[in-house]
Symmetry: C2
Subunit: 344 residues, 2 copies
C-alpha cells in the first residue's frame, strides 16, 4: 500500500520529463499566433495524469523505476529500445486537444486557472490549435522507434480512442438537452469520453514494448481508473468549496449537466431540474447548493457514486496482477486510490 | 493528350466506388446527431478529386485501369494486395474535416450547395463532426492491409499533411488581417493549405504498394497540381459568373482574401484595399466587380496567375515520367490540364 504523499511525489517528479517532452514536441515552425494558441493550455500546467500513468506502466513492464529508467530508451522484450516518453506526449496532446475543443463547445472561460484558448485567442485559433495538436499526437506517436507492427497497433489504438472520445462528448452534449439518461447510459458515456484515454495511456507501453499479454489487463486497469476519476470529479463539484475547486461549487447542477449522482437521484424520484431551479452561477448562494446537495445525499446518490468509484478502483487494481511486483506497480495501485480520495 | 471530356468521364466513373467506400467507412454506431453531422457534408456531394487522383495513381503503378482494377485488392510489388480505396476514403475524410472546420472558422453558410455543417446543425456538432472524421481518417488508413512498414509510412505522411494543413489555414487567416503577403508567402501558404493533400493523395499508393522510387515524384506531381488548382480556383472567383460559380463573383475581393492575383497586383502598385472599398456581397454591382477585375488585368495579374498555374501543371506532369505509360498515366496528365482549364 502506497500512501497519498508517495503518490503525489511520484506524480510530481515525473511531471518534469513529461513537460520537457511536451516542449520538445511542439514544433517551433508553426506560424506565430497558432504556435501561441497551441502552447497556451499546455503551458498553463496540469497534473499530466495520463502520461504519468503511461510512464509508470512502462517502468513496471520494464522492471525499472524513476531512478533507473530512461524514458527515451525503454527496453522492449526483444532487446530493442523504445521512446515511451513520445507516447506519453502523444496522449497529453490528445487530452489537450479535447480540452481546447470542449471549452469552445461548452463556452467555458477558464481552464487550469488560465483563460481558455478561445478566450485568450479566438474561436478560429482554438479550432486550429486543437486540430494541430491532434495531428501532432499521431506524428509524435510514430517517433517511438518501436517495431512497425507495434507502432501500427499503437496508432490504431490511439485513433479509435479519438473516435470514441468524440462520440462520448457528443452523447454528453445530448444529455444536456434530454434530462433522461439512466445510470447505465451515463456510465457508457464516461467510458467513451473519459475512460478510454486512461485505458490507452495504461496499455500503450505494453503494446510498444511487446508485452502482449499485459495489453488488455492494463487497458482494463486504465479504463476502471478513468471511470472512477470521472465519477470522483463529479462528486468534487458538489462537495469541494468554490475557493479550493477554482470554479463555482455545484456548477454541474447549475448547468444541468448529467452526472452519476444526478442520474441515480432521478432514478430515486428526486426532481433534479427543480433542485436549483433558475439559479445561475452568479446568483446562487452557498446555502442553496448545500440544500441541493443534502437532497442528493438523502436519496443515497452521493454514497452510490462514491461506492461505484471505489468499486471501479478495486476492480481496476486487480488487473495489475499481470505486472511484476515492485515500486511502479505499487504506484499504479496507489494512483488509483489517490484519484478517488483526492480533495481537488 | 487526353481531352477534358475523357477526364470528366474518368472522374465521374471513379466517383461511385469512392462514394461507396465513404458510406461503408462511416460507422453507424456514432450517436444520432453526430452521425448526421458527420455524414452531412459527405453526402452533399463533391468531385472527390483527391481520392480519384489516388485511385488513378494506384492504377498507373499497378498497370491496371478502371475495368481491370479492384481497388480493394491492388497488387503490391511483393505480391501482396492492398486496399487502396481505404486510403482514398481516408484522404476524403481529411478533406471533409478541414472543410467543416474551415466553414466554421470563416463563418461560411453554404458548401457544395447545402448549408454548412454548423448551419445545418450547430457549432458543437461541426467541431465534433470534424474531429470524428479526423480520427476515422487514421482508422481507415490502417485498414489497407499493406505491410506494417508501408502502413506506418502512410500514416506518418497523412499526419504531417494534417499538421501542414492547419498551419496553412492559420497563415491564411493571418493574411486576412495583414494585407502584406508577398507572392512567395502566398505560394508557401497554398503549399501547406491545399497542395500538401494533393501531394499525399498522389503518393500514398506508391507508399502502400511498395513503389518506393515513385513516392517523391508522385508527391511532386500532386503538389504542383494542388498549387495550380488553388490558383485557378482564385481566378474563377474573379471571372466566372455568379450563377455558374454558385456564390458571389469577386467574393475573395469583397472579403479581403489574399490570392495570387491580389498579391501580384499589390506588388505592381495596385491599391487592392481601395478596389472595392466598403463593398459587401449584398451591395456590390456586377459593374463594380468588372472594373476591379479590369484593374487587375491591366496590372498583368490575371495573366501572371494563369501563367503560374500553367507552369505548375507543366512541371507536375513531367514527374509522371516515373509511371508506366498507359491510360491511367494519361488520365493523371489530363486531370492536371483539366483542373486549370475548367470553368467552374
Amino acid at each position: 500500500m502506497v500512501g497519498h504523499q508517495a503518490v503525489e511525489a511520484a506524480l510530481e517528479r515525473r511531471r518534469d520529463p513529461v513537460n520537457q517532452g511536451l516542449a520538445e514536441a511542439v514544433p517551433a515552425v508553426i506560424p506565430g499566433r497558432l504556435q501561441g494558441a497551441t502552447q497556451h493550455l499546455l503551458e498553463a500546467g496540469g497534473k499530466r495524469l495520463r502520461p504519468t500513468m503511461l510512464l509508470l506502466s512502462a517502468e513496471a513492464l520494464a522492471e525499472l523505476d524513476f531512478e533507473t529508467a530512461s524514458y527515451r530508451q525503454m527496453p522492449a522484450v526483444d532487446g530493442d529500445t523504445v521512446d515511451v516518453l513520445s507516447a506519453g506526449v502523444s496522449i497529453e496532446f490528445v487530452q489537450t486537444f479535447t480540452l481546447v475543443h470542449d471549452d469552445l463547445i461548452d463556452n467555458d472561460d477558464v481552464r487550469r486557472g488560465a483563460p481558455s484558448v478561445h478566450r485568450e485567442y479566438d474561436t478560429s485559433m482554438a479550432i486550429l490549435a486543437g486540430d494541430v495538436l491532434y495531428a501532432r499526437a499521431f506524428e509524435v506517436l510514430l517517433q517511438t522507434g518501436a517495431s512497425p507492427e507495434r507502432a501500427l497497433r499503437a496508432v490504431g489504438r490511439l485513433a479509435s480512442a479519438c473516435t470514441e472520445i468524440c462520440e462520448g462528448q457528443s452523447v454528453d452534449i445530448a444529455f444536456e438537452h434530454h434530462q433522461s439518461a439512466t445510470v447505465e447510459e451515463y456510465l457508457d458515456m464516461i467510458d467513451r469520453k473519459t475512460a478510454v484515454l486512461f485505458a490507452t495511456s495504461a496499455c500503450l507501453p505494453a503494446i510498444l514494448l511487446g508485452h502482449d499479454d499485459a495489453v488488455e489487463p492494463l487497458a482494463e486497469y486504465g479504463r476502471d481508473v478513468g471511470r472512477a476519476f470521472q465519477i470522483h470529479d463529479d462528486l468534487l463539484d458538489l462537495t469541494t468549496p468554490t475557493e479550493t475547486l477554482g470554479k463555482q461549487r455545484g456548477s454541474d447542477l447549475i448547468e444541468g449537466k448529467q452526472t452519476l449522482v444526478t442520474t441515480h437521484a432521478r432514478e430515486q424520484g428526486v426532481d433534479i431540474d427543480g433542485l436549483l431551479d433558475g439559479a445561475t452561477a452568479g446568483s446562487v448562494s452557498n446555502e442553496e447548493i448545500d440544500r441541493a446537495v443534502e437532497t442528493l445525499a438523502e436519496a443515497g446518490s452521493l454514497e452510490f457514486a462514491r461506492d461505484r468509484a471505489r468499486k471501479f478502483v478495486e476492480n481496476g487494481k486487480r488487473h495489475l496482477d499481470v505486472l511484476p511486483d515492485g515500486e511502479p506497480r505499487r504506484l499504479l495501485a496507489g494512483t488509483a486510490d489517490y484519484l478517488v480520495e483526492r480533495e481537488y
